[in-house]
Symmetry: D2
Subunit: 460 residues, 4 copies
Amino acid sequence: MRFFNEHVEDIKIAYIGGGSRGWARGFMSDLAKEPALSGTVSLYDIDENAAYDNEIIGNKIMSQAKVMTDWKFKTITSLQETLTGAHFVIISILPGTLYEMESDVHAPEKYEIYQSVGDTVGPGGAIRAARTIPMYVTIANTIKEYSPSAWVISYTNPMSICVRTLYRIFPAIKAFGCCHEVFGTQALLQKMIKDRYDIKVQDRNDIKINVLGINHFTWIDRASYKNTDLLPVYREFCQKYKEEGFISEETVHATYNPELGANKVKFDLFLRYGLIAAAGDRHLAEFCPGKWYLDDKDPYPVWKFARTPVSKRMDSYQKQLADTKSYVLGEREFKIAETGEEGVRQIKALAGLGSFITNVNLPNTGQMPDMPLGVIVETNALFQADSVTPVHAGKLPVPVQSLVMRHIYNQETLVEAAIKKDCELAFTAFINDPLVTLSLSDADRLYKEMLQNTSKYLWR
Amino acid sequence: MRFFNEHVEDIKIAYIGGGSRGWARGFMSDLAKEPALSGTVSLYDIDENAAYDNEIIGNKIMSQAKVMTDWKFKTITSLQETLTGAHFVIISILPGTLYEMESDVHAPEKYEIYQSVGDTVGPGGAIRAARTIPMYVTIANTIKEYSPSAWVISYTNPMSICVRTLYRIFPAIKAFGCCHEVFGTQALLQKMIKDRYDIKVQDRNDIKINVLGINHFTWIDRASYKNTDLLPVYREFCQKYKEEGFISEETVHATYNPELGANKVKFDLFLRYGLIAAAGDRHLAEFCPGKWYLDDKDPYPVWKFARTPVSKRMDSYQKQLADTKSYVLGEREFKIAETGEEGVRQIKALAGLGSFITNVNLPNTGQMPDMPLGVIVETNALFQADSVTPVHAGKLPVPVQSLVMRHIYNQETLVEAAIKKDCELAFTAFINDPLVTLSLSDADRLYKEMLQNTSKYLWR
Amino acid sequence: MRFFNEHVEDIKIAYIGGGSRGWARGFMSDLAKEPALSGTVSLYDIDENAAYDNEIIGNKIMSQAKVMTDWKFKTITSLQETLTGAHFVIISILPGTLYEMESDVHAPEKYEIYQSVGDTVGPGGAIRAARTIPMYVTIANTIKEYSPSAWVISYTNPMSICVRTLYRIFPAIKAFGCCHEVFGTQALLQKMIKDRYDIKVQDRNDIKINVLGINHFTWIDRASYKNTDLLPVYREFCQKYKEEGFISEETVHATYNPELGANKVKFDLFLRYGLIAAAGDRHLAEFCPGKWYLDDKDPYPVWKFARTPVSKRMDSYQKQLADTKSYVLGEREFKIAETGEEGVRQIKALAGLGSFITNVNLPNTGQMPDMPLGVIVETNALFQADSVTPVHAGKLPVPVQSLVMRHIYNQETLVEAAIKKDCELAFTAFINDPLVTLSLSDADRLYKEMLQNTSKYLWR
Amino acid sequence: MRFFNEHVEDIKIAYIGGGSRGWARGFMSDLAKEPALSGTVSLYDIDENAAYDNEIIGNKIMSQAKVMTDWKFKTITSLQETLTGAHFVIISILPGTLYEMESDVHAPEKYEIYQSVGDTVGPGGAIRAARTIPMYVTIANTIKEYSPSAWVISYTNPMSICVRTLYRIFPAIKAFGCCHEVFGTQALLQKMIKDRYDIKVQDRNDIKINVLGINHFTWIDRASYKNTDLLPVYREFCQKYKEEGFISEETVHATYNPELGANKVKFDLFLRYGLIAAAGDRHLAEFCPGKWYLDDKDPYPVWKFARTPVSKRMDSYQKQLADTKSYVLGEREFKIAETGEEGVRQIKALAGLGSFITNVNLPNTGQMPDMPLGVIVETNALFQADSVTPVHAGKLPVPVQSLVMRHIYNQETLVEAAIKKDCELAFTAFINDPLVTLSLSDADRLYKEMLQNTSKYLWR
């Protein structure tokens, strides 16, 4: 890695899950738009063909006329070799396939447990954790041996559990987890300002926020735009839209995706707890007791958000396959567009080009003083040359702390159980999940069925 | 208070709730059996006649031939005067009447929420807390002014919330909360030893235990008899009786009270979590998610414990009234018998006569290092002259910690809400209770109804 | 305070110590250079005439042709009135006079205790604390009553003790303490880069640092310029200059002030502890055991820094008086120049104009997780609209932690003692100071003499 | 180990340092007086002949007519074999010889540093630590492999550092450190009661105390006899004897050993800090700044305690050699007498025979909430079957906390340095010791000389 004249060259990035059709291509796109960085991206994937496809697509992107930088993409079939010499490691894997995910999300329905996403918490999140943790154990051990000083950016869900596993296995790792849900909440605040004051805030980064909590159940307890305290404004906004919900003009059109929701869960939570819940309603709903927002198979009539069935993911997967083919064959040109993700911006700062503050998932070293040390929390952090330093986030109000801690305890238990290969211990987390409002015997039955459905990926 | 020749004389005890027909008379009985202590007990009660009755009964007890000590009982109608000059304060009050308790326990049944006791947690516990905290605020303020250096022993439920209120209002108070549920678990271990080894352990204090958790949801993570580690023995015991339950021979007769249960909840919890839950099954069940042990109106068929309806308490109350009359009129002599409670033994140690270790409820100053400071925890403590020092209890396993912390957060919220007179804040604790598995709108309806039923005693 | 078109108008600033000839005028100068802010500064000083002089000087400054903003300066003779309605409060007072300071610095010399500044720690710092704390108690109480939501910037030494007192008296205060010593260390790193790479770093803010410790005994454990880790560079720099010291070319000329030193103490500390001590050598020396760097009346021959005698301050004071007169009379025009202080920049961010990170003194809420909560630590913090949020600073290595904690314990004791008016308690801090290497009887004699010399300003 | 009828048989004890002439024989003597225990003691010593001598002496003791129990003593020449199968491990070793100790104690005198014992803190303690830690590393590793579930009782100085090393190397070890200094302070309180009330307290255990701090610098903040609070009595006692000191009648005779002192240091510390310092004056003096109590080569004229020269230890050693010979040859019979040590009593409780409370050295798990976790603190603990549970000790007042923490930081540094074999790191502890009031260059010279004198035993 060479720093030269405000450029950084010869950066080596290892991309684990390099066959990814969504995240990996977005990342390539963001790289293509950043003239200050260049180097090599090694693509590793258990689906080698998918990685090869991305190698072709990535190299084609870099040869597009308007691209002012140069990255080489190369498929590597050994994890060890992929990691060796890496300055940065990206992890965005799908743990198992959509068939396992189908069980995660839909198997609990026969017990009237309805999940809106099913990849973070709830029975689906617990089972997904059970198959993801062993993969992350392997990755962490390999990083420890082959690229111990690399910066590791993790995108996989369940986020907190993945990052926790990395640190459990290799405590000196320099890793953090990234997610865009909070950015979406900043965007909502932009729209609120438009709604209230008819002012267009250009950049979501102009909305200053204090972030605290855990991934997908993150909270904002201070927000300002210039000198305006946004919390009183948000209270009015909640009051105004608590019944009908709020869907911004841009998104209200034909293309409106009901999974994005109308923020009614967020408004309800604010009016109860006084803090802005900073994730999409689909995610937030899953962290709360099942009767609150996910009591019905279709929560839309009451709460105005739709669940995401796995069949929809499967359709989208088929479409991606077709797209891939046409990109690879050169039938279509990949369209470079900003994703809104921050991975490239973070790499830039870590490489010594500038500094900025954003929210990421890190072990608690005191930034949330009421949380146990070591658990993964999401707060603001300062990115600078070779360092990510949490900003002190403070404390959640006790009622919110309780809702959050319940999931942290479950995450700790799931990681411990997977490392110890202890199914009974993991079951104590399963029955402690707020969506699992079952008798012990029903819970036991469901747990065993779901484990069976994912058994191919479980610890052995 | 004079210490003389291994006796302590002129002890002044203030008894708040001095009209109590159960606890107060047990206490008198224990005093009568302890030759080393003597003095005066001031009886204060909002039901003055009840206090007068106890004054007569207490003084009659002391005049029984076999009593080798001397205590004077005297009704005092002002709380201030009762407390002035007291060396010890006992608080055992009934917050409200059995009519309020009827609502606490039975109002939630229309939403299929079944409580077995309804005085500690659950919707009933929350509402009982709401009317008890203001009474304890008054008591704490009066102690602060009139007997700041007295030792205060609290017996009222919800225990943790009462003791927490005392310390919130008067942080320098010397108070602790006492409960016999753990003693009952020691007794179960005695019976287990009989069952397994056919050895009769004379004294429950010979069963050495480490106690940690919160009142009525207390845990034992180490137990020994002589050099025998009792945890493996208990595991076998649980396996043996997990289906049928265990009812000891003494209690199996006609007089068997199904409310005492057959320990099936305790066995189930041990087999899941590896720790001995140290309270009666009726209490334990209420701290767990509602579907686990209280899913049915009658839990007996599955879990072999019965719920205690308030009608039964009302019957018992009528009987106590009749007994009282006959004691007062001298138609019957009150029978002095050891209660198994430790109040008098504690007073003796605090007065400088010996030292011993027992479990009590105290603010956490580090005895449970994973718990927030200040919350009320139940652990062993060393009683000596003018001091109660917690024994370091250690940490709960994470899955148990999660179950316990949920209640601690609720307790913190309920105390804060009652002090701030904030009904909406208290509602966040209400809906976070594991028995309240309702939609937000149903929870709201139930809460308002229950608050209405107890409105006479609420903060204003 | 009105926010309008990237300007903030009608700001009300209360300046306590408004007669100050150094800090107050620097502040006026910085205000004059900032076009985005305008408003009123109320000047309060126990020396009313000094405040009147500054009122005249300040208003004259604002009328200079090149000044593009507008501030009114006004003397107010009541502290209450000064504070009422203030958005910002500046405190820069001289506790007592230079006569008291003469005793602080020079009285200990008869016991061979040599202080280089004598205003922070050492026997002089302890006595200065004793007379400053009561003044800060008064100020804190008045702020609590008259401007509880104002932001308070404190410049007075002993810094940590002053800020601690503000929070002890009024825990909800929004106060922080500012000091430029760390900026000077950033400047040294700029010069180091020039010396090593012949690169001129334009802005000290381009040197990114992590700051931790306490005021005047602050440390840097991470430093970078672009992608260069500066710690290995600093190690070489220390090795190169550890004997002769390093004095930069700009400062080496005739005007060189030997009090600024040649960084030999800093180099010695780095080579022992591996961290950059981030204050002038004169300050650092006083925090270490007396035999290390202040064993001789003149430390220059060995350590290449000079002590600052109070006589020098008196001379400078006379010159300031003369300058003041000529400014007031309009004989000379006050020269507006950037001071390098950050007060105005901080006010700007707090008012909602931008955000930035700098080092300030704040109560520890977890930013230094090994330090007791509540004590004043100096770390980076994020300044934004109406908020100052510490950046997580981490832990000092144990040997440095020990040196620092000794002073923190003394600070805690001095504040406690002054509030309790307990001279004997304050004496335990006095004898625990690393410069006080005396027998108990000598220490007692010196302490009493020094207290006597400052008795006019002591608590009563 | 068999528990039978209130006896425990077949106990296996491994005694490391089994050739010890003082501690080992005292232990044998205590074993001989305890009828409830019997078994085997394996004696291991690098001086094998010394172990053989003790084997003979120990077996002779057990054959004395009045001894009602049976222990076999056997020399084992391999540490591994000694530990294999042990239920209890005793460690009482002399790290190095008296020649190394001569350097520890007397080498610093040329720099006017006078130590009274020189085995715990001060320059001597630091160097002794440097040669002891590697030995304890070896012992800890061997225990980890050969007797991981044994209880380990450590008597070696520097106590805190030895116990800390055991836990650093083998965190699951069941070890504690024992010392009789606090017992001596209880005895002083017995004498105080005699002096004040003319009452003879039979048993020092009737003096109830709360113990907190570190070994040899331990403090008592609560003390009672029956219902009498002893702290006000102790204050009067200090006032009465602060000038002349207090030497009890029993000890005042010809045999009076001036090293035991007259408690003037203890009285002075109480009058400054309000807590009872609970160790002999010789020890306490070494923990305080050098100028306080050890400014003179002979502290007796002012402070009435004498230093212990190593020559005296050498004389005593010669006498022990002669005694040994006569015991071994059977010329004299070893006189069985209670030592006042508690090792045998502790073994009895750990084996399941009864329970009691005493003060021991353990890692801080929260019993001293203001201390860092993991450091070794001395507090009360509850001894029961297979468990030692600290009693919550609470906090030291800040000024005492500062004096104590300085040593804890040094201990942490010395252990870290020895494990890392880092002489420069250990030097930072050396110069931070309160007795080392030297310039950095003198300190460096002394350190190197002392290290050289002990080089045979240093880490390599």
